[in-house]
Symmetry: C2
Subunit: 128 residues, 2 copies
């Protein structure tokens, strides 16, 4: 799927994003997708039954809201793993740039399908 010797720059990949909450897959390794996403506002409450989700903030501030534990607030350079099966909602008051690592399979809204759901096909347009 990726060309041999492919390499790129995170900020260039963020620059190619034109919509919020619309992740872009930028690398594939060991069945995992590395993605970039620009986010702003509230996402949807959701959980990934079988997948952990790694978040790294590149710019701005991201809050991960939880129903059963304290919220986690992440600023530039901060990272956090949302464990599989745990309901959460990402929120950013202002525009925030996030790097994600998660298995290639799931939609980014887990079992929840909403108007904000983007399929893997939509997230990997740049790789084809």
């Amino acid at each position: 799927m990726m060309k041999a010797n492919f390499h790129s720059n995170l900020d260039n990949e963020f620059g190619a994003l034109t919509a919020f909450w619309s992740p872009r897959v930028v690398a594939v390794a060991n069945g995992q997708h590395v993605k970039v996403a620009k986010v702003k506002g509230e996402f949807v409450w959701h959980a990934h039954a079988a997948e952990d989700e790694f978040f790294l903030v590149r710019r701005g501030t991201l809050t991960i809201r939880y129903r059963d534990r304290p919220d986690v607030v992440l600023t530039e350079g901060d990272f956090h793993v949302v464990p599989k099966g745990v309901e959460h909602m990402p929120v950013a008051a202002d525009e925030c740039w996030v790097v994600l690592v998660e298995p290639a399979a799931p939609t980014h809204t887990g079992e929840t399908v909403s108007a904000m759901t983007r399929t893997i096909e939509q997230q990997t347009v740049n790789l084809r």
Copy 2:
């Protein structure tokens, strides 16, 4: 292995590193390790038979030398995946800070055991 709600900052994790070529596991998700490493000089030629290796440069310049394809030069914010089974040698003329994502299993020198090899136990001291 990670505490619930654990979150941290990349640069703080780099700050905890006191040796070159001695990766530190900072997060675990989906059987993958997210690691930070400070590198300088030449590593060893090696390959990971079954594992891809994702590299993201946080600071400095890293060159991935290959035997069978052009070298890849990565500066701050650049990322690249070394495919499984492909022999490579990371090199940095000056100190370089690298974020790695790879399966939890392997040593960082693949099938090659050298004086520079650090076991997973040595790489995860901070998590216990």
